[in-house]
C-alpha cells in the first residue's frame, strides 16, 4: 500500500513538474519573442 502510494506520489510530482514546466517554458518563449520582435 505504502509502496504504491510512494510511487504514485513520485509520478504525480513528475507530472506536475512536467506540465507546469511546459506552461512556464511556453510563456517564457512567447515573452522572449515579445521582447525581440516588434509586436
Amino acid at each position: 500500500m505504502h509502496d504504491q502510494d510512494r510511487r504514485r506520489k513520485r509520478g504525480l510530482i513528475a507530472f506536475q513538474v512536467f506540465v507546469y514546466g511546459m506552461l512556464i517554458a511556453m510563456f517564457a518563449i512567447q515573452l522572449q519573442m515579445y521582447l525581440t520582435r516588434h509586436w
Binding site: 507530472f15 506540465v19 507546469y20 511556453m26 520582435r37 509586436w39
Partner: protein
C-alpha cells in the same frame, strides 16, 4: 432546516431515513449547483450564477457537517468546474464555428482578437467556413467543440453521479485536455507574429486570461489519488 446528527441521544437515524434525507438534500443542492453552472456557462451572466452555485456548495457542506452522506465537496467542485471550463470554451468556439456572422460574434470576437489574440482578428471571416483564420486555429476549434469538450462534459456528469465510468473517463478526457492545451499553445507560438502583432496586450493578455482554464491540470492529480471505491458501477 436542521439535520439530526447520528450521535443524537435518541439514537442514530435508521439506514433508510439517513439515505432518504441524504438523497433529498443532495438533490436540493444539485439544483442550485446546476442552475449556477448553467448561468456561469453563458459567460455574460456569470456573476449572477456564482452566488447561486455557492448556495449549492453551502447546502452540501451543511449536510456533511450534519452527518449525511452526500457527495464529497472535491468531487462536486471538480465536476462542476470542469463542466464550466468546457462550457465557456465551447460557447466561444461554437459561436466561432456556427454563428461567426452574427453581429455580436463579429463584434466581440474581433474586439477580443484586437485586444488579446489576433488569431481572432487577422482575416476574421475570410475563410470559406468563416470565423478565425489564423493558421491551425480552426482545426483546434473544431476538435474541441465537436469532440473533446462534449466528451469531457459527459464524463464530468457521470463523475458527479459517482459512477465508476465517470471517474475513469474524466481521467481520460482530462489527459486529452493536456494535449489540447499543449497543441494549442505550440500552434500559437509557431505563428506568434500573426497572433500577437499590434494586439492590445500581447502575450500577457492571453496568459492572464487563459490561466484560469487549467482545471484539467488540477483535476488529474485528484482523480489519480481519490479512493476509487467511492465510485460505484
Amino acid at each position: 432546516m436542521t439535520f439530526p446528527t447520528t450521535a443524537a441521544a435518541g439514537g442514530p437515524l435508521s439506514m433508510g431515513e439517513h439515505e432518504q434525507q441524504s438523497r433529498a438534500i443532495q438533490r436540493r443542492a444539485d439544483r442550485w449547483l446546476i442552475a449556477g453552472t448553467g448561468l456561469m456557462g453563458t459567460l455574460v451572466l456569470g456573476i449572477v450564477g456564482l452566488p447561486v452555485f455557492c448556495r449549492g456548495l453551502y447546502l452540501l457542506r451543511k449536510a456533511q457537517r450534519g452527518g449525511l452522506s452526500v457527495r464529497p465537496t472535491m468531487v462536486t467542485l471538480i465536476g462542476f468546474v470542469i463542466i464550466l471550463d468546457a462550457a465557456l470554451n465551447s460557447i466561444g468556439w461554437a459561436l466561432d464555428l456556427f454563428a461567426n456572422h452574427a453581429l455580436i460574434t463579429r463584434t466581440v470576437f474581433t474586439a477580443w482578437g484586437n485586444l488579446i489574440d489576433a488569431g481572432y482578428f487577422w482575416h476574421y471571416n475570410e475563410l470559406w467556413i468563416g470565423g478565425a483564420g489564423a493558421p491551425g486555429e480552426k482545426a483546434w476549434v473544431m476538435v474541441c467543440v465537436l469532440i473533446a469538450f462534449p466528451m469531457r462534459i459527459a464524463a464530468a456528469i457521470a463523475f458527479l453521479q459517482m459512477k465508476r465510468w465517470g471517474h475513469q473517463w474524466l481521467i481520460v478526457t482530462c489527459w486529452f485536455g493536456i494535449i489540447v492545451w499543449m497543441g494549442y499553445i505550440f500552434n500559437m507560438t509557431m505563428y506568434a507574429d500573426v497572433r500577437y502583432t499590434a494586439v492590445g496586450f500581447p502575450v500577457i493578455g492571453w496568459w492572464a486570461f487563459n490561466i484560469f482554464y487549467i482545471t484539467p491540470f488540477l483535476a488529474i492529480p485528484y482523480l489519480h489519488t481519490v479512493n476509487r471505491e467511492i465510485f460505484s458501477d
